[in-house]
């Protein structure tokens, strides 16, 4: 039973894929190929990311995280959030488990949102690639506008958030990062 329940979304998506394969075989095969290609590239990234999460969980004490990225860490905490996000690898959804361990260890929420913002806009490997594909001006404008919007937006999000919502996020982070 557990296999069915724990993986219900996988089953659901596979049923969708099978329906597509039956109704439109050509599209279905294409969808399967894209999925396999995606799985391959993400499977490469996942093991080190989760090992890093595990190492961070056992080696970084809460007090240290609070000092570096907590409520009173100031501009330094924001810079660490940007650095962690820029060092990220992989698509947005790989960042959520990392965000959860940051929350669990006591990082300030605004900085966790800033970390996610950096992950989707100034990630270093992507930055190099963007530079090569679109040129310096395009890339510079992207980084510049993203930093401003995510910087202000992250602070606003934290400010406008209700206490219950903050408690909920912390509770879920504790639960989801083992």
């Amino acid at each position: 039973m557990n296999i069915i329940k724990n993986y219900k979304w996988v089953w659901f998506s596979l049923v969708l894929l099978i329906i597509l394969l039956i109704l439109k075989p050509a599209k279905g095969i294409l969808a399967t190929q894209i999925t396999v290609q995606n799985l391959k590239s993400v499977a490469l990234i996942l093991p080190p990311i989760f090992v890093l999460i595990g190492l961070m969980d056992t080696w970084v004490p809460r007090e240290v995280m609070i000092r570096f990225m907590g409520e009173k860490s100031g501009l330094f905490g924001a810079l660490i959030a940007l650095f962690l996000g820029a060092m990220g690898a992989g698509p947005l959804y790989v960042a959520f488990p990392v965000a959860a361990i940051l929350v669990k260890k006591g990082a300030r929420l605004a900085y966790v949102f800033l970390f996610l913002g950096a992950w989707v806009s100034i990630k270093l490997p992507i930055f190099m690639y963007e530079l090569a594909s679109f040129g310096a001006k395009f890339t510079f404008l992207h980084v510049f506008s993203s930093l401003i919007v995510f910087g202000i937006g992250s602070l606003l999000m934290e400010k406008l958030m209700s206490k219950e919502n903050v408690a909920l996020i912390i509770e879920r982070a504790d639960k989801l990062s083992a």
Partner: protein, 158 residues
Amino acid sequence: MSSEVLYGITFVLLAMSFIKDRGKTKKALKKAYKSLLKNLSMLVSIMVIMGIVLSIIDSNYISMIFGKESGIYGILLGLGLGSVSFMPSFIAFPLGASLLENGAGYPQVAGFISSLMAVGFISLSMEAKYFGMKTAVTRNSLALVASISFVFVVWRFM
């Protein structure tokens, strides 16, 4: 390239951890394995659904709607399409570059590329598991605002 750096860093840290404390390292690996298992179901289903969405979206259609004359409609379509679909950057960037070569406008491509990376409509349910639906929607809206600002800046300065 990036995954090799990631593996290198992970390996060095893991070795340092092992030298300092074997028990703690074992515990860390156990935690890594456990949280990977916890997230695996969500990750795999998102990737299957992205594969389906991507196979349905037609690349000819994409290049058609991004022409220089498409103006604000092309921008809105680019933002919308970028928000709901997902492509790894090693596919999206060359696609964007070839769109530009084939006469697409910079603002349209900017909207498409930036929302592609920052706004995750398909991964919204996973994000909501971590942050709750309200916060997940707010964060994605913020990402959309960032993409729109980028489009505006590109429109003004390029």
